[in-house]
Amino acid sequence: MTPDPLDAMRLPVMPVEPRPEFAASLLRRLRGELPPVSGRGATVRYFVADLDAAIAFYCHDLGFDEELRPAPSFAMLYHGDLRLLLSVPGAAHAMPDGTLPDPGGWNRIVIQVPDLAAAVDALRVRGARFRHEIVTSVGVRQALLEDPSGNLVELFEPLAGYHERASRGGQ
């Protein structure tokens, strides 16, 4: 006789052993008191002039998720395994000689998109600035996008077939 598949749902309910340490740890992690597990992910810090504008740009235009915003001058965003820290320069960041960090420069996060032309079009419609438009490089097509504070974000799309042949990244 075929057993009734619903029998599994009629099994007695088993009490689960409470694990206070796990619950406490989870709570701390949710509150942002614990850093992510060591070795997982990568952290990048960008300085921005306007935190609201930066969060809107990264979350609405580039698909980042806002994880923490504990202060008016700091936010933590995620994009896959990338943790992006956004800081508005302030006294806490001053160098010993008083120099404050500022946005800009050329070093940048690099984000893969499935369709670069469509991504660039969509971003341009929303008013995003590009330091350069789409160029074809070794194995990839790429564009250099600026966030509202002028920080760079490199968008790239692998060229079809190249990586299968070369099994390496673009240059």
Binding site: G41, T43, V44, F47, P70, L85, D102, W106, S137
Partner: protein, 146 residues
């Protein structure tokens, strides 16, 4: 596996490779020429590129349409977690590395900014002990620095 890519502009590919592999535990993944290299550390892929002028090859180091060349520096940076910040600083100092500041103790950990040979910043970060973190007055103050 490396899943996050960051590109740094450097003036000397080999000096940068030496710095990141010797002192910061990066692995060299490829160095096809003296304009480009790829390093890995955990989930972070560090793409190093040497800037070229308008006559140089196409690539991540190419100049902008207005002819402006890329250059190292700035303040944006990736952060690497080290288990012993004081030890790491000592080791880097003895090798001649430059630091932009001294160790700063924030609410979430201690950190310092070291420069690679081209002057790019790298944030070294050591998390503060969990016990210390639990004594924080506000629950949301544990982020790794502001």
């Amino acid at each position: 596996m490396t899943t996050v890519s960051v590109r740094y502009v450097v003036n000397d590919i080999d000096a940068a490779i030496d710095f990141y592999t010797t002192h910061l535990n990066f692995e060299l993944q490829m160095r096809p020429n003296d304009l480009f290299a790829m390093l890995g550390r955990g989930d972070l892929r560090l793409v190093l590129v040497k800037p070229v002028g308008p006559d140089g090859p196409a690539g991540g180091g190419a100049p902008m349409p207005d002819g402006k060349m890329q250059e190292p520096g700035g303040w944006n940076r990736f952060s690497v977690e080290v288990p012993d910040l004081a030890g790491a600083v000592e080791e880097l100092r003895s090798s001649g590395a430059r630091f932009r500041n001294d160790v700063v103790t924030g609410v979430g950990g201690k950190q310092i900014i070291v420069e690679d040979p081209s002057g790019n910043p790298v944030e070294l970060f050591e998390p503060i002990l969990t016990e210390a973190r639990l004594s924080r007055p506000t629950p949301s103050s544990g982020q790794p620095g502001r």
